[in-house]
Amino acid sequence: MIPIQHFLVLSSILFSLGIYGVLARRSAVLILMSVELMLQAVSINFIAFAVYLAPEEFTGLIFAIFVITVAAAEVGLALAIVLRIYRNKATANVDEVDIMKW
């Protein structure tokens, strides 16, 4: 059986890639995709721990499904916002959007 460390390293790499994407990208759509990467890293952790620590229970698996559901909803919402911003500002570059301040 593959040791759990492998899964944890994988999820860490994915999570770090996601953080890097969120911080480095300028396109709102790419940032959203990076956020998805982070969410999936969390899901991997959930599943790995579920299988290795309590194989007879489904708690972790159910959480993973919840994460996927929430992620889908979140992406739907976020894409809608991005679309509205694009309509108004003709750009999806987050550096050029600063309407969130006072």
């Binding site: 911080l23 940032i31 987050v94 550096d95 959007v97 600063d98 301040k101």
Partner: protein, 632 residues
């Protein structure tokens, strides 16, 4: 119906007060019959209580009957609605209920046609309720509640004609001045309670007699209690309110400022007398000194006062001072005996003065004169009251005043006795002067004299009853009279501190006080009879003294100065501190700081998503590092 049912005495007027307050104006005659009926019922209920007490009083070790219920229970003490009937309370009740009944009847005539006729009777009923409760209270807390109730009613009634600025001012003055003493009383009660753990008067006295308090502690406590009596009984230096309180309607002056309320202070000291005896002797010396000072101040001020009611008010102060001197000689008997007869003749004097004011609509003695022919009944009654106040044999005041001189001669320094005899002389001077100026001589104001008429029967009948009592009440001093009425003997064998005393009559005291009284009358006759020319010359010759008395020893001016320059200035400083430091800096300042810092810090918000994202990530990293560091 016995002593256990004593709660009915205040309960009946209390119920009448509630009814009058709610439905008074819908009742026929504004409900005056209800007020009078309730107080008369209170007097009627007093009689079986007295009879029951007389049955019991001969029993060995009788010390009053306590009844009532617990009102509010706390962990450490019970607040009781408790009533105690003993000899002291009975004497007070006799005066309060009887004189109140007569005065309420008198008020029907005096207050006739007043726009607030109904309210007058309502407030009077509340006053009587509070006074009876005060007398019957078996614990200090209930006593204090009633004490304040009495003060509040006095405020209402002095300011009864509050459209008149002077009346409103007088009401405020009375309330605030007595309140200074009341704070002292409250402190005294708390001090007594702190050590004894009970408010019950009887238990506190037992506690003190068992040596529960240290001498200094008890002395401090009783002096604070005495401060309350000083305020309520208009003793020096809180006496300034009583003369001004004459702004109220005359029946109020008669009821409150003569017969009942002002003697509450005397009653309180008499009730607490066992504590004063246990305490350091200096406590009783203070009582004597304050009482004697009051006597001398009031007697001299009365000589130059020109308002008929004011003179009688000063004579009240004089009497109260005498009672305090008697208490200073720890003679509850003498004080209560004087209180008892004083209730009758002082109410009589006030009601006589009220009849004069009612008949002439004048109060200044220099506008009156020669009224004896127009108002013979009033003049007769007033003469009886005057003679009783002066203490001429065999009027009631003679016996009572004699008793005080006796105990003072036995217990106090000779200088006190000398001052007492001199005060009797002064009393004779100013009371005779008042009578001469009002009822004899030539009318000074023809219009007032034309207008003068005898009071209606509803007013003159109570006056005559009181006049009869002012003559005979003093005979209670005799053991034979007391026994004939069912008492164990004279008042000395009924009301006493430690042991009953038989009636004693030292001739020296009687002769010296009578000589002083007659001398004073003769002196006043020489000065003021007729045109009062000699009095004017004397006043001119002793101009500074005249001015000193006329200006009431400048007490009012001194107090006004203190209020203007100390109280109000101090108040302004505190108000400035409150406005500028507490409000503007403390309260508004902290809110302003939040607004200001929020305004300044909002500029750190860029509104750019990457900045926030970076901040979140950095925050998580820092938290992780801290978490690791703390874990390790």
């Amino acid at each position: 119906m016995g002593m256990d049912d004593a709660w009915l005495l205040p309960a009946v007027p209390a119920a009448a007060f509630a009814a009058l307050l709610l439905f008074g104006k819908y009742l026929p005659r504004k409900g005056d019959w209800l007020a009078i009926g309730a107080i008369a019922a209170s007097f009627a209920l007093f009689i079986p209580v007295l009879a029951d007490l007389l049955d019991e009083v001969g029993r060995e070790g009788f010390a009053g009957v306590v009844s009532g219920t617990d009102w509010v229970e706390f962990d450490t003490f019970n607040l009781r609605l408790g009533f105690m009937v003993d000899q002291l309370a009975i004497v007070m009740l006799a005066v309060v209920t009887f004189v109140s009944t007569l005065i309420e009847i008198y008020s029907v005539g005096y207050m006739k046609g007043d726009p607030r006729y109904g309210w007058f009777f309502t407030a009077m009923t509340l006053f009587v309720t509070a006074m009876i409760t005060l007398v019957l209270a078996d614990n200090l807390l209930l006593l204090y509640v009633a004490w304040e109730g009495v003060g509040f009613c006095s405020y209402l009634l002095i300011g009864f004609w509050h459209e008149r600025r002077s009346a409103a001012e007088a009401a405020k003055k009375a309330f605030i001045t007595t309140r200074i003493g009341d704070v002292g009383l409250l402190i005294g009660i708390i001090l007594l309670w702190r050590e004894a753990g009970t408010f019950s008067i009887r238990e506190i006295i037992e506690f003190a007699q068992d040596g529960g308090y240290s001498a200094e502690y008890l002395t401090t406590a009783v002096l604070f209690v005495f401060a309350g009596a000083v305020g309520k009984s208009a003793q020096f230096p809180l006496h300034v309110w009583l003369p001004d309180a004459m702004e109220g309607p005359t029946p109020v002056s008669a009821l409150i400022h003569a017969a009942t309320m002002v003697v509450a202070g005397v009653y309180l000291v008499a009730r607490m007398m066992p504590l004063f005896v246990v305490a350091d002797p200096v406590a009783l010396d203070v009582v004597t000194a304050i009482g004697l000072t009051t006597v001398m101040l009031s007697a001299t001020m009365a000589i130059v006062a020109t308002d008929i009611k004011r003179v009688v008010a000063y004579s009240t102060m004089n009497s109260l001072g005498l009672m305090m001197v008697a208490l200073g000689a720890h003679s509850v008997t003498a004080a209560l005996f004087y209180l008892f007869v004083h209730g009758f003749f002082k109410a009589l004097l006030f009601m006589g003065a009220g009849s004069v004011i009612h008949g002439t609509e004048r109060q200044e003695v220099w506008e009156l004169g020669g009224l004896a022919r127009k108002m013979p009944l009033t003049a007769l009654a007033f003469a009886v009251g005057t003679l009783a106040m002066i203490g001429i044999f065999p009027f009631s005041g003679f016996w009572a005043k004699d008793e005080i001189v006796n105990v003072a001669a036995d217990e106090l320094a000779w200088i006190v006795v000398a001052f007492l005899v001199f005060s009797i002389f002064l009393t004779a001077v100013y009371m005779t002067r008042l009578y001469l100026l009002v009822f004899t001589g030539r009318p000074r104001d023809d219009h007032a004299h034309e207008h003068a008429h005898e009071a209606p029967p509803v007013m003159s009948l109570p006056v005559l009853v009181l006049a009869a009592l002012a003559v005979i009440a003093g005979f209670w001093a005799f053991d034979q009279v007391g026994r004939a009425l069912g008492f164990p003997g004279g008042i000395g064998e009924f009301v006493f501190l430690d042991e009953a005393q038989e009636f004693a009559f030292p001739v020296v005291a009687a002769i010296s006080s009578s000589l002083a009284a007659v001398g004073g009358m003769a002196f006043a006759y020489a000065l003021w009879f007729g045109e009062a020319e000699q009095a004017r010359q004397l006043g001119e010759r002793f101009r500074p003294l005249y001015k000193l008395w006329k200006n009431r020893y400048y007490f009012d001016d001194a107090y006004q100065w203190a209020i203007n320059n100390l109280v109000l200035v101090g108040g302004n400083v505190i108000a400035w501190f409150d406005r500028n430091v507490v409000n503007d800096t403390g309260v508004d300042g902290s809110a302003g700081l939040a607004v200001f810092s929020g305004f300044q810090m909002k500029f750190s918000q860029t509104g750019r998503l990457p900045n926030y994202a970076l901040a979140i990530v950095m925050g998580v990293i820092i938290l992780a590092i801290v978490f690791l560091a703390v874990r390790v």
